[in-house]
């Protein structure tokens, strides 16, 4: 656990007045607030640090304690213990969520271990952050799937903030897509509705198919003789093997479309994209003398 210089976080010096602290906090909050930095985890983290620094420095009691022990914060821990032994402590209140509200992460711990060890949980007094005051907080979660999992509509149970939620994942969901589960965020206050749960999907493709939207792309190798004279080629699709007729004189790199053999279309049951197959013609190697002679004859014909 490392010492955190809260003055440095807010970019102020030790003699800063309450007004200076407030100003510095507001200025930096305008830069890093999650509402102004959508999908930016780095800004989120910075904003939490800002809130923590503000929580300590804007509260005269906290600031006094912090200034007194500073780098010798370990003594602060002892101080805390002594306080508790005397029964003077206000008791362990849960860490409050001093978070602007916009982007709740799954990890709600918020404040650093350093803060926890020195102050034993947020005092919750002077923080400029906002609790839910009407509509509940939104939660964000990330779900990792394999491409194959996205082939069929299926249900999955997620644990978000200790609660199990069963969700239906529609077939054809895209990498990077976010779905909203209404009402599964934080609880509303004073009759306000609950927040929502946003699930961002991260889809790993470990198949030999490339995906672009609903279409899939793959390649198949055919030998020179099949390419020249025509024949058959077997292609893997996501739902099994398919035999293709290769016309005579097929060029290397020729693309054929297998209609409806692509990826399912999102929220359109029974509709599928296409599969594009590219033929790669394999040139024979390690020719015998006789084969060479035949090719020579061919080239002179």
């Amino acid at each position: 656990m490392e010492f955190i210089d809260y003055y440095k976080v807010l970019g102020i010096d030790k003699s800063a007045s309450t007004e200076d602290i407030k100003k510095a906090y507001r200025k930096l909050a305008r830069k890093h607030h999650p509402d102004l930095n959508p999908n930016n985890k780095e800004a989120n983290k910075l904003f939490q640090q800002l809130n923590e620094a503000n929580e300590v420095l804007s509260d005269p009691e906290n600031r006094k304690k912090y200034d007194k022990y500073g780098k010798d914060w370990k003594h602060g821990e002892e101080y805390e213990k002594a306080q508790q032994a005397q029964g003077a402590s206000s008791g362990q209140r849960g860490r409050e969520q001093h978070f602007g509200g916009g982007q709740g992460e799954e990890d709600f711990s918020g404040f650093s271990d350093f803060f926890g060890s020195m102050f034993g949980g947020a005092s919750g007094s002077g923080g400029a952050g906002r609790q839910a005051k009407y509509r509940g907080q939104d939660f964000n979660a990330e779900l990792h799937l394999n491409l194959i999992d996205a082939l069929q509509t299926h249900q999955q149970t997620l644990t978000v903030n200790g609660k199990n939620i069963r969700i239906t994942i529609p077939a054809g969901i895209e990498n990077g897509q976010t779905i909203k589960i209404a009402g599964h965020g934080g609880p509303g206050v004073n009759g306000g509705p609950n927040g929502d749960l946003f699930i961002a999907f991260s889809i790993t493709n470990d198949t030999k198919f490339k995906r672009e939207g609903n279409n899939l792309y793959t390649s198949v190798e055919i030998d020179l003789y099949t390419a020249v004279l025509g024949g058959e080629a077997t292609v893997d699709t996501l739902t099994g093997k398919v035999k293709l007729k290769v016309p005579a004189e097929t060029q290397n790199g020729t693309k054929v479309k297998l209609k409806g053999k692509g990826f399912p279309v999102y929220k359109k049951e029974g509709e599928f994209g296409d599969l594009y197959v590219t033929y790669t013609v394999k040139i024979p190697a390690n020719l015998t003398e006789k084969q060479k002679a035949l090719f020579t004859e061919l080239s002179n014909s």
Binding site: N39, G102, R130, N190, N205, R211
Partner: protein
């Protein structure tokens, strides 16, 4: 008081301890819509997320309504661009690794 998907603007404001004039100003700026039924103002719950964001910008960050308006336009653009980047990244994966 809830009327379907509508909530009374007064309830919202008292819960947030803000003046109703803030909501009216947002309406004047075209940032939210208010439904009036029998002289009572209602807000569609679907706007709450956005509305509370405006509130945080105004009261926590001290951004005035003109600023909020400009930020809202920019945020919409940022969101669209992020969607576009995701789509482009997904397309790019077609050309990465081995060539087809």
């Amino acid at each position: 008081m809830e009327t379907g998907h509508l909530i009374a603007a007064n309830d919202f404001c008292s819960s947030h301890q803000i003046e109703i004039s803030f909501i009216s100003s947002l309406k004047e700026f075209g940032l939210i819509e208010i439904t009036t039924i029998k002289e009572t103002s209602y807000i569609d719950t679907r706007q709450l997320q956005q509305l509370e964001k405006f509130l945080r910008m105004h009261y926590d960050l001290e951004i005035n309504l003109e600023g909020i308006e400009a930020i809202t336009h920019l945020l919409n653009r940022v969101n669209n661009m992020q969607d576009e980047i995701t789509a482009l990244k997904n397309r790019l994966s077609l050309y990465e690794d081995e060539s087809l």
